[in-house]
Point group: C2
Chain length 338, copies 2
């Protein structure tokens, strides 16, 4: 059975389409008798107004498009939850797409959104896009008056609302923490070294070192991609110097570093303390459980959605950037202060 339309119902009753439309929308203009008959028939036939037609008419879709780089990253999952919560409360649907860190995929998705399918866009840049720092598709969207809110991985070259994590402060805070529990040589393992987030965390790290007059040693920084052999890189690192602390720039890398370090016979946290970013499931169940930086993903999602919906309703306000502070979740992978 094909979808029933107003036309079909009108034909069935021998009345006009507009009469049916009014009857179904319970207009006072239609006689109770007809209204009841039409409504009953519509229910029976499972009539449902065609959204496409509605959207075309209203120039509004009541849906928000979301682009996240990587769904395996717990942080983004949490943000998604937050977005969905607020969106649903405000009567918006969300359609989520994964760019998978690819700028081509990101562009494709944005073009899809730009063609009238959504009322607004929420996005965190793919790493590749941050590298290139070209954002034509995104600028097109903004240019077409479709509100955009960027979160977490943002660009200074795009003018729009933003919600960011205070990553510099976080990097600074945890480095200080490690120094305070007695770590002298602190390494950083960074799988997202070219993203704004990765850079800021490193900047925070440097700032803390400076404050304690510890010279910055580039050999302690491991930037890697998925293709690199972590085990090998770690072996260089561990043979280079006595390392007392390691910062993993995301959750997965922190867990992997922990594995390698353990496999090489080091005790965590007695020999080496480890801190990672993102408070997800992995870090919690690993042995020892990892001390992590929580970015409050769900809260970020909520703020992002609120910002977007607010802008959809009141265009023309000046752009806003919200900064969300992180918290440190101390668990068993860091030495206790004596």
């Amino acid at each position: 059975m094909k979808k029933v339309t107003l036309k079909d119902i009108a034909a069935h009753f021998g009345v006009s389409i507009s009469t049916v439309s009014k009857a179904i929308n319970d207009s006072y203009e239609i006689s109770n008798d007809l209204k009841l008959k039409i409504q009953a028939y519509a229910k029976e036939k499972h009539y449902k107004p065609n959204r496409l037609a509605l959207n075309l008419l209203n120039k509004s879709t009541k849906t928000i498009g979301v682009v996240v780089p990587n769904i395996l990253n717990y942080f983004f999952v949490q943000v998604l939850y937050g977005i969905e919560k607020v969106a649903n409360e405000s009567g918006y649907n969300i359609i989520s797409c994964i760019s998978n860190e690819s700028s081509a995929k990101e562009t494709k998705t944005l073009e899809f959104f730009d063609a009238g399918t959504v009322d607004g866009v929420i996005m965190s840049l793919a790493e590749e896009s941050q590298n290139e720092d070209k954002h034509e598709a995104l600028l097109d969207v903004i240019n077409n008056d479709i509100p955009v809110v960027l979160f977490d991985r943002v660009s200074d070259n795009v003018q729009c609302d933003k919600v960011v994590v205070d990553d510099l402060e976080a990097g600074y805070k945890i480095t200080k923490y490690l120094i305070n529990i007695g770590c002298k040589n602190i390494a950083v393992v960074n799988p997202i070294s070219s993203s704004s987030v990765g850079k800021l965390r490193l900047l925070g790290y440097k700032k803390a070192l400076e404050e304690f007059d510890i010279p910055f040693d580039p050999k302690l920084i491991i930037n890697l991609t998925i293709k690199d052999d972590l085990d090998l890189l770690m072996s260089f690192l561990l043979n280079y110097k006595t390392i007392e602390g390691i910062i993993g720039i995301d959750e997965l890398i922190a867990v992997q570093v922990l594995q390698v370090v353990k496999a090489r016979g080091y005790n965590v946290p007695n020999d080496i303390s480890i801190i990672g970013f993102t408070n997800g499931q992995l870090s919690k169940y690993v042995t020892p459980s990892l001390t992590m930086v929580s970015q409050h993903g769900k809260y970020i999602g909520e703020q992002t959605a609120k910002l977007l919906i607010n802008r959809i309703k009141n265009p023309g306000l000046p752009y806003e950037t919200k900064t969300v502070k992180t918290s440190l979740l101390v668990r068993d992978s860091t030495k206790k202060v004596e």
Copy 2:
């Protein structure tokens, strides 16, 4: 700047809308001269055809709606990857929604899809929906001639294409495996006891017991919800009898069981062997790494998407149910065979 339409461009050149449409679509009917001018202007103004209008016209959206119950479950994430891969290859966009195991949310999403927004639907039932086994919204979708493919968590009361995991066989296989490595009392911890998947796995478990003439002891089966206190339930279990093997019905529960068991002083795998379902990140990095059943989520996603796209193209074929076999991934949480 509001979105540019054909009308705007037509007005700018003082030609008709259809001329502009043809020019932009590079029709041979239009003079080269005009075509070039119009195309240049369109590009300059970032013209993009309105998808809503197109979709309405073509009665096709080239998008697939996906509903998954829980994005924190690695299995579903993998399925999503598989779906997305095949869909993209065939020129389909996907819009994914999370039902969060709630049947109300599921219904809302299905109604959204049912209103002409997608060409087909891929779904795995929310646990609540499987409990109630009412699927009105879903039947409405099918009734409206929108193809549906159900995967993993399916219902016999819904007639459509399906892709399922051979969960009975998997439950059977791993129980036999545990028996063969010497486990006598094997417990099952089941957080999805009311889902088809959970039931089938338990059935496989029973089948294996029968085969080995081991009497089924309901006290060894722990059905629980998120609200239940796993630690407490496990303490009852472990005090009840000497347990040599535990089956965790999903990944997270297997990991949590491992934690509890370790915390209570048992050695895994020497005292107790543990097997879980779903080969995700967690089970890999936990200590000891967990022996798991892999359901080949990505492959399932691919098959599901293929089935759906095939049905969109050829409606009227008889419904099909594909069964995908699992594999056992032996790691360190199960005793080695002597």
